[in-house]
């Protein structure tokens, strides 16, 4: 998730930033929540944490996809390297 935060600050465009938000962020949330669920032990709390994990794992890419689709539909051009 630290890498995702650095990517969100440093990358040049909304299309490239979406990679940092959706991919790296989902992986960080997955690892962190699995660790917390294993620490919690077997029971209803572990089940609820896994429900939150599944929800985040579905929701995060869906929201990023909707945002980028809106950006693409509204005519935003992707960033290109300047060729001097």
């Amino acid at each position: 998730m630290v890498v995702a935060a650095i990517g969100v600050i440093r990358l040049p465009d909304v299309f490239t930033r979406s990679h940092a938000v959706s991919l790296a962020d989902s992986l960080g949330a997955f690892l962190m929540l699995v660790g917390i669920a294993l620490n919690e032990g077997l029971g209803i709390n572990m089940l609820k944490i896994l429900v939150v994990l599944a929800l985040l794992y579905i929701l995060n890419p869906v929201i990023a996809h909707a945002t980028i689709r809106a950006a693409h539909r509204s005519g935003l051009k992707p960033w290109q390297k300047e060729t001097s």
Binding site: I6, N45, L59, A71, S74
Partner: protein, 88 residues
């Protein structure tokens, strides 16, 4: 264990600050929307970590589930609205 959880909370707060920079500075409105998505993901994890730290996970987990569902509805509504309207 308490100190470790406190360090995790502080690190998550710093990461939220990085996303907040993008929300405030973002050139287009879609950057701000992506930053909001990242902040809400971090806020869910922060809620669960605070619940572990207070040893009241059963209460905080329900708040986290409700927050995740609200986040989905809000962000999808804003994205659909911007898709029809276009950026300006």
């Amino acid at each position: 264990m308490k100190t470790f959880l406190f360090c995790v909370v502080v690190l998550l707060a710093i990461i939220i600050g990085a996303y907040l920079y993008r929300v405030l500075r973002g050139p287009t409105i879609f950057d701000r929307l992506l930053g909001h998505n990242g902040i809400s993901t971090k806020a869910i994890i922060l809620l669960i970590v605070i619940g572990i730290s207070f040893e009241r996970v059963d209460m905080f987990i329900d708040i986290a589930i409700g927050y995740a569902l609200l986040n989905l509805v809000g962000a999808l509504a804003v994205a659909k609205y911007l898709e029809q309207k276009g950026h300006s």
